[in-house]
């Protein structure tokens, strides 16, 4: 069975700083996807970034980038130049290739302080 672990329940950083959220996962699959989802207080789950396991290049989306270490089964999210609107719960998630269900970590609550 696959598991996703986020070891930081809560983090706070000052606006404009860079912050890294950690995630490790466990799987015996070779083909899979990893995601970071953001859930602001408005509740809607928003896809931040996605990484296909077969791609060695780390995914980036504007201020968001990942450090994907397949051998170590690590998938961290870096947020550069953090903004107040980045305040949210962040979920790391895993999905097997050609599967249907996403397996989520417990989440990291991120506070961006003015």
């Amino acid at each position: 069975a696959q598991t996703v672990t986020q070891s930081q329940p809560e983090m706070s950083v000052q606006e404009a700083e860079t912050v890294t959220l950690s995630c490790t996962y466990d799987t015996s699959e070779s083909n899979y996807y990893l995601f970071w989802y953001k859930q602001p207080p408005s509740r809607q789950m928003i896809l931040v970034i996605r990484q296909e396991a077969y791609k060695q290049q780390n995914a980036t989306e504007n201020r968001f980038s990942v450090n994907f270490q397949k051998a170590a089964k690590s998938f961290s999210l870096k947020i550069s130049d953090s903004q107040l609107g980045d305040t949210a719960m962040y979920f790391c998630a895993f999905m097997k290739y050609r599967d249907d269900k996403i397996i989520f970590g417990k989440g990291t609550r991120l506070h961006i302080l003015p």
Binding site: E52, D100, I102
Partner: protein, 117 residues
């Protein structure tokens, strides 16, 4: 493009009652997924519907059921409600496979908060 819409926003029930939650997927999406986000348990996969059929379900009792209609909208029914069913229920939709054969990301709605008194 309208996103995934869920109704109602909030639902209050008492133990033993039944609850019905509704979800409309993004136009063109044929797959609908249901997740339960309970306090302390995180997000857990509940059900997957595609083309009107239940394709997979998570580790939940049979009193959690649902269906998908010909227009791809979906209902989640929870019978014999228990206190621990209090949670945010999220619906997501996707294309199962994109034109390039790549799994498509799931897009989530705002959720229905179900409170059991």
């Amino acid at each position: 493009e309208a996103g995934v819409t869920q109704s109602p926003t909030h639902l209050i029930k008492t133990r033993g009652q039944q609850a019905t939650l509704r979800c409309s997927p993004i136009s063109g999406h044929t797959s609908v997924y249901w997740y339960q986000q309970a306090l302390g348990l995180g997000l857990q996969f509940l059900l997957w519907y595609d083309e009107g059929e239940e394709r997979n379900r998570g580790n939940f009792p049979p009193r959690f059921s649902g269906r998908q209609f010909p227009n791809y909208s979906s209902e989640l029914n929870v019978n014999a409600l228990e206190l621990e069913d209090s949670a945010l229920y999220l619906c997501a939709s996707s294309l199962v496979l994109g034109a390039d054969g790549v799994d498509q990301p799931q897009h989530f709605g705002d959720g229905t908060r179900l409170s059991i008194l």
